[in-house]
């Protein structure tokens, strides 16, 4: 046999021995490099074919033909793996996350990201929350009322500055969405919003009854900033309750001041249950320091605005509880 024939035989043996898994490609490259060093005249190069959706890889070995040109070698041993199984796809290929019964594809996740809006959480957590809601509405296939669709579309467009048809169509073209896909997409948003509204209305009254103090209307002043400035301002806050907000003019300019009326549950945590006139803080809060005083507290009443606030809090708590029970599996590899 010629030297080249012998090298070809050796190359086949090399290929048959390489580990056909993505995780072992570096090992395969080292073996091929060693083989190339032993056959310097052939300019051997290993080509790694990483198939999508499977850990299986294929190899080719490119060699210079002594008579000119290139010879490509490929070889697979008979390892007893049937052909369709060798070419199969991981069940979660192309998927980002599975939350209970919902499998979210990468494409769906990218679409979903366009509608994420919460600033109090990460996209990672909000995607899971959206999937939890998708689980809840999986069997919800009734028609969506036109006004809900319109409201969802209007909010979506307003949030992106798409104030007319031309700008909306241009945005769709940029995103690669057809008008029909956009309609479907908005339908999904409307369905999720509708579920949230229903759930808030369902849970709100009980939440209000359980802890009405969370929904007291509270007028308060609080300052945030460096510890020194907040500590210095605490004494001023004590005066604010008796003497009025004019005293705030004496505060150190480094502290940020907020005067607001909020539901107790929406206040910074140190003020939630504080009695009028009692200065809370300074305490560490959200990366800086906070001190505050409650000016006035009115007991919760069962009106529309309060029930809506209780519904929002109850929904957040329901979602957190639902998340704690969910089976979440991320498919990063």
């Amino acid at each position: 046999m010629s030297d080249f024939g012998t090298a070809l035989e050796s190359g086949v043996r090399l290929l048959r021995g390489l580990p056909r898994r993505r995780a072992h490609v570096a090992e395969a490259r080292r073996a091929a490099a060693a083989w190339a060093a032993d056959h310097p005249g052939l300019h051997a190069q290993l080509v790694v074919d990483e198939r999508p959706g499977t850990p299986v890889v294929d190899f080719d070995l490119l060699l210079s033909d002594p008579e000119g040109g290139t010879v490509a070698l490929t070889a697979q041993a008979d390892d007893g793996v049937p052909w369709l199984i060798d070419h199969s796809t991981h069940w979660a290929a192309g998927q980002l996350v599975t939350v209970d019964e919902v499998h979210l594809s990468v494409a769906q996740a990218l679409t979903m990201i366009r509608s994420l809006s919460r600033r109090d959480t990460t996209p990672h957590d909000e995607i899971v929350d959206q999937c939890l809601i998708l689980n809840e509405i999986a069997g919800d296939d009734g028609p969506i009322p036109g006004e809900e669709l319109q409201a969802a579309a209007d909010d979506f467009r307003r949030g992106r500055g798409l104030h007319d048809r031309a700008s909306t169509l241009a945005w769709l073209a940029e995103m690669g969405m057809t008008p029909a896909q956009f309609e479907e997409y908005i339908g999904g948003i409307a369905r999720r919003r509708s579920f949230r509204r229903r759930k808030e209305a369902e849970l709100g009254p009980a939440r209000l009854a359980a802890r009405p103090g969370d929904f007291d209307r509270v007028r308060a002043v609080w300052i945030t900033g460096p510890e020194r400035a907040v500590a210095a301002g605490a004494a001023t806050l004590a005066a604010v309750h008796g003497e009025g907000t004019a005293a705030l003019a004496e505060l150190d300019g480094e502290a940020e001041t907020v005067i607001a009326e909020r539901f107790a549950a929406d206040l910074p945590e140190p003020l939630c249950e504080a009695a009028p006139g009692a200065v809370a803080g300074p305490v560490a809060h959200g990366g800086s320091f906070l001190a505050g005083v409650v000016l006035d507290r009115t007991a919760a009443r069962e009106d529309e605005r309060t029930l809506a606030a209780a519904g929002r809090v109850a929904f957040t708590e329901w979602l957190a509880e639902r998340r704690s029970r969910a089976a979440v599996e991320w498919h990063w590899s």
Binding site: R21, D49, D78, W83, H87, H90, E184, Y185
Partner: protein
């Protein structure tokens, strides 16, 4: 009495059940997976006759009263947890399956889609493809083989546009992870491992260009066709079972009359009263047959394409329940929907 044989978590049953109740039907939903562990079945022969009683744990059912059976997704019989020896468990399953098969055979009921054996036969792709071709369906040039030498010629005949599919879906793992064998569009790389074909047979077909895919649901004589437009989805374009619902469009589809009739005939000729037929409508307007699933999914046909399949199933079961059952002749039982004049009692 209507008996539904299916897993307790079956969403399809949950869709149909309220419709049966609205129609005033008496229904029992039972999963054979509860037998023999939690249910009792007794077939007693005396005085030249027999009586078969199923005690589900919640109620006792004389199978002579069952007129319609919907065999959806029943689990296999399962012994009690206290039966621990694997050989004892296998033995218990084997005995239970035999008794169940016999009991169903003797129950004077009409079945949707059919008894187990008929369904198993109809599910076989070679059998139903031969039947479809005989009935005039356009069928792609198809090879079922485990001969590696067939691969390259098929690839060349298809002009390089060849797909591979599995003959029957089943679970398997690769490196310990669940994998799927979807419809695979072949490239030249696939040919280089042709020797692997010898290890199990595969289906090889030319890639059929599609305007839309169709899932046609046949319930007795009623036909519901949903088109599945996957052209906008890179993920689901070659196999809609990748479910990319944001980019896949579903809609009701009007089949030509002759084809609709052929779908009913194909289903009936396989001894079925229900079938989910997959077709492709090519860009030049030709309908091509792919396969029929005797118990194929229809939920998305109803939910995404708005076709009332659950009502049709409820109608069929109620009509069968109100018709006097036949005897133990299950062939006649299933063929009863297709009388000589093509009319049924529930049209």
């Amino acid at each position: 009495m209507i008996l539904i044989l299916s897993d307790r978590r079956d969403d399809a049953v949950a869709l149909v059940l309220p419709k049966l109740e609205r129609r005033g039907a008496r229904v029992t939903w039972w999963d054979p997976g509860e037998f023999p562990a939690r249910s009792r079945l007794t077939a007693a022969f005396a005085d030249g006759g027999h009586r078969i009683v199923l005690d589900t744990g919640a109620e006792r059912l004389d199978l002579a009263e069952v007129r319609a059976v919907w065999r959806r997704r029943p689990n296999a019989p399962c012994p009690a947890e206290t039966v621990t020896d694997p050989s004892h468990r296998r033995h218990a399953v084997w005995q239970a399956e035999f008794l169940l098969d016999g009991a169903w055979e003797l129950a004077p009921a009409r079945w949707l889609p059919s008894r187990r054996e008929a369904e198993r036969r109809a599910h076989n792709k070679i059998i139903h493809m031969a039947r479809a071709a005989a009935l005039g369906f356009r069928v792609p040039e198809t090879v079922y083989t485990n001969d590696p030498a067939e691969l390259v010629p098929a690839y060349e005949r298809a002009g390089g546009g060849l797909i591979a599919k599995q003959i029957n879906s089943d679970e398997f793992t690769l490196d310990g992870a669940d994998h799927r064998a979807y419809t695979t569009v072949l490239n030249r790389r696939h040919l280089t491992s042709r020797h692997r074909v010898q290890h199990e047979p595969v289906i090889l077909q030319p890639y059929v260009p599609k305007a839309v895919e169709l899932r046609v649901i046949v319930v007795g004589e009623r036909v519901f066709a949903a088109e599945i437009d996957t052209r906008a989805s890179r993920t689901a374009r070659d196999d809609w079972r990748h479910y990319d619902d944001d980019r896949v469009r579903y809609a009701a589809h009007d089949l030509p009359d002759g084809l609709e009739r052929a779908c009913v005939e194909l289903t009936a000729s396989l001894g079925l009263t229900y079938g989910a037929i997959d077709l492709i409508l090519t860009p030049d307007g030709e309908y091509t047959f792919l396969e029929i699933n005797p118990n194929g999914a229809w939920g998305f046909v109803e939910q995404r394409a708005g076709l009332p399949v659950s009502d049709a199933i409820a109608d069929w079961l109620v009509a069968a329940d109100r018709t006097a059952g036949d005897t133990a002749d299950h062939t006649a039982g299933n063929a009863a929907d297709h009388t000589a004049d093509g009319k049924t009692d529930h049209e």
